[in-house]
Symmetry: D2
Subunit: 352 residues, 4 copies
């Protein structure tokens, strides 16, 4: 087994007590080319991971350790499933040791450090590293990711909105000043922190909007949309909370430009994503539902144009914890290490 | 008690086995001016209503009866909680007997009988009565309702979209060609019929859109919007299904006209609905949630204008079975019989 | 109105920010004989109650105030919807002012102060007052409640288990050494405190037991059962958590004594509770469900004896926040002030 | 690939449109030693499986076919995910063709054909084949399964109750006349048939018991318990419905015999199941929850003895569609074909 072990990717996870952490553990423990070597939590030091997450009993034998004892420098790659600001404080040391870094928080998502500071209320501590990092959305930036040493894994909402709009903006087919993304997320997107609004008795049998006046994913989406459009973009973004554990559904509205009214949008999307293993363009007339991707890395897109008018509706679903977070992070790892992108990510969604 | 009884409104319900039926029973059995005299169901003839709906044990002693035995002609008002097409087949006979009719189905919602026939796949059997009926949305058509003998109780989606957009269209303040209503409904809106997509194991922990290519409430909304706007209106309408029992949330997007950019929209809505007991315009900056109206006849509206731009977002919540159906029907009955509009409808919403 | 106001009961609530608090407000704001005069929360001082609980908008105009400013001494009755230990620290002062006290926490539930201290980790500060208080389960102790100045409102689990077992123990019909109560509660029973296990993403789509090795309601149930049985009682009590907001379901197993095998248990229960407005013994063969009592003060009981053997199964449902807490507290208030017991408590359960 | 294909097990599924069918497809499509060759549904003939179950898009290319066209005789094994009575009508033909049969319905669960006829309202059509079939609970009957040509896959409730009680009955440690199984199931256990009680609006935010006077799994459990006990057994069995999609939780009560009071029950269970990959005996003091096994073939058991008394509580969780149905069927297939029992069944449970 030594030989085999030698060729596997040594993986460390910093801050593995939250939902993206346990989801990384679920995926990585079943990944054929990965050796999990450390997972850190200062608070849970010494506690077996499977005590906190009983689904891992029999699958993951690791205990949480302090960052100091984790020997992360000996890893090939370290995932940060931490609050914003942690990864950027540790990345330099790891890069010096030759370790690649995938941050599931926001430290390496926004290239504009002023925007970062405005929304995350902290100064960016390593703008040089940031400028060389890659935004980890493989379907848009695969080549850059392959070359990067630091990956900023996208937010959950941005993944759906960007993959939903990319074909339209790449083709300059719609009015980019009045885009609308009406997005709906399962409650796990809010994380595992104890908070009253996310209690079962508060969030169940209820539906609400939040962050209408401003949400951190808004500037992230806009920055990437502007890169795609090659100019300023206007986006109205309204996130909502759905009483379900996992799942994200984005209903995106775009007005077709007069000169693009003859476009076959169904064909456009099918061709754009023809080679993408994780983006499934549904047949014309088919609508997606979040459970069709539950616990899988799949993202599904439906293109709708009612009455063949000028209003296009793009419907996108994903599992916010997989393609919207940990699955995408593993996908990025596969790219970084030259593995087939689907390695360890072929799970069939759980339905019902 | 005889004297008291004489002054109470004698009420009959046709087809009371569905969700709007049981909700009518819940509301009417607690209404101080109502005497429930008959409820019909051919299939359940002779069965106590409370056998089917145990929440009514101790509150409603009626048994289901056949329409023939129900003596509906002796009622003051008859509610139809039936499939589309039933009310219009019976209304003439009841009107001749001096009975007023409130239909919770679609027979008296659309004034355009061609549109009705297109969407409901049946010819309208009494266009003359239809033309004299009132569309039962009190906040828009109270005077007409008070004079009518037949009320077409609005659909659940239309109630939210119409009350959400009325102040804007009445004031000609927005682009009426590109209105968007992104609506979300609890599963009870689909009724009590046994169907696979509405099973718990299908609808729970899931979110989906439906009817994107066409939904019966679309022409109903458009007909009323056009009346308000005094001309053609373009509306994109996308209904979604939320894993909750009751509740409806509509996120409405409208573009402000250049000449209306100085409007104080918060004040506009507050003034428009200042006298409406059942329409609550939330304070600026406050967002609604469906549970704040659960099991009550309240509808709440929030007006949002991110960044003071040209995109207005109107958020509307209601309980689809109350203000969206049976509660509104009772409100219409109160108007018909000259009662204070809140009579029997002051229930506080259930939270949590 | 002055005259009317004079005859209404002046009510204060201490600690109204939790679920039993908002439920008291819902019920009391619709109670025809109550005038809400104060609600305290040191933390929310000055905040309108309806800002925290938007369902109360238009129904309750009160603001939270500090206990010091609340003038609770001028109330006729004060409800404590506080953590354990608060009521007993303030009750003496209120009693001296002639105010009656209903505590929804545990301070006046257990007569045995040693048991209290063991389970609640605090010494009882007023055993004299405790000894004169009444355990507020009207169907068992109505006369004592009517005479008391302090009421200890029962726990939610005890209400179901005690009313479920009372007829059997009063008649000495079952083996009292091996009673089993397998109880299931909705998540609101855990209160509104922010805690990870009660997050939606943790509690939804999940079922678990808790407190198997010991739960505070166990000694409370046993103390009352022993009173009923006139001797020691052995009870196995296993609480479980159900992914629903409200509702409690207790499945109780008792072995029929050989000499009682001829008992007509259905008749026994029907007769025992014939005059009780809030206890509904279901017809033979009918099983209860929690939604049949959702948001109402009703408790329903079904008596089952499979194969006419020696094993009796008693199934009991209630809304844990109403008959299991705030509704029962209002019922106790009605008794204290000589009102008909159903006053303000006739709400029909919400179904669906 | 031909060589590889030759060594894989050719699998057919009869009646794959229900939940056990789609779950078989999810598991078998990821099973490294299986080749899916046919899935039948007369009604859906010609429809791609992934049209009905979009989670299978990209994973299963099969179309439904009629039984006639499915060439099931060329399979190595055929699973019946059909209503009761179908498998026994087709099994003879398949056995003659050398095909092994695993029935997920009840045709080969009960050895006593009179009991079968009483509960399933049909005569058993092949008692000879029945008598040579094996009851497919590997942890109890592995050797018999390995030799059998026909497997009757256990019901979901029986799997939990039998594995929960086996160590106690094998050791004759408890009173077998008064066993109690208080069981709770997710709604998917009721199948995918359209029925009002299983609608989201009926089953959500609700908890109820059902089948108290008699449930088909009762005789199945008793038959196996009696085999284990070597004599008559008395079991009270109360199934309940939990508002969750998947998951089963059984709370089992057994009275310890006086002579067995010194038993170390924790050690007993740990030893009994030490070699079982799919039975996880939790550490003392740990309680199970259903989500810890969601979408996995794991079953977890906790042994509780409050106060070291004579009442034992065994808590068992499983996913009703996996270990309680399709996963167990695949486990049986692995045994039948001499594969390591965990092949294709190592999925980590989905949490959250």
């Amino acid at each position: 087994m030594a030989t085999h072990s030698d060729t596997r990717i040594k993986v460390g996870i910093v801050g593995g007590t939250g939902y993206t952490g346990v989801e990384l553990l679920r995926l990585l423990s079943q990944h054929p080319q990965v050796e999990l070597v450390a997972i850190t939590s200062r608070k849970e030091d010494g506690v077996p991971v499977s005590d906190m997450y009983p689904n891992l009993r029999g699958h993951v034998d690791l205990k949480f350790s302090t960052p100091e004892n984790a020997n992360l420098e000996q890893c090939d790659v370290v995932f940060f499933a931490t609050p914003h600001g942690v990864a950027m404080s540790q990345v330099e040391r790891l890069l010096e040791a030759g370790v690649r870094v995938i941050d599931l928080a926001a430290d390496f998502r926004l290239q504009d450090t002023d925007v970062f500071q405005k929304w995350y209320k902290m100064e960016h501590s390593c703008p040089d590293i940031l400028s060389q990092s890659a935004y980890g959305l493989p379907e848009l930036l695969r080549d850059k990711i392959a070359q990067a040493k630091v990956i900023g894994n996208p937010g959950c909402y941005p993944t759906t909105v960007l993959l939903g709009l990319a074909p339209l903006l790449e083709g300059a087919l719609v009015d980019t000043q009045h885009l609308i993304a009406d997005c709906k997320s399962g409650v796990s997107g809010a994380g595992k922190g104890a908070s009253v609004p996310n209690l079962f008795a508060e969030a169940s049998d209820n539906f609400k909007a939040y962050g209408v006046s401003g949400h951190r994913h808004h500037p992230e989406i806009v920055e990437q949309l502007q890169r795609l459009a090659g100019g300023p973009v206007g986006l109205t973004f309204v996130p909502h909370l759905v009483p379900m554990i996992r799942g994200m559904f984005s209903t995106i509205y775009a007005r077709i430009k007069p000169e693009a009214m003859d476009t076959d949008f169904q064909a456009l999307y099918e061709q754009r994503y023809a080679k993408e293993a994780f983006v499934d363009v549904l047949p014309a007339g088919t609508l997606p539902e979040t459970r069709s991707v539950r616990a899988s890395n799949q993202l599904r897109i439906s293109v709708q144009r009612p009455g063949n008018g000028d209003q296009l509706i793009i419907l996108v679903v994903q599992d916010n914890l997989v393609k919207g977070a940990s699955g995408q992070a593993v996908q990025n790892m596969n790219i970084l290490f030259g593995l087939p992108e689907q390695t360890g990510l072929k799970h069939v969604a759980i339905l019902p």
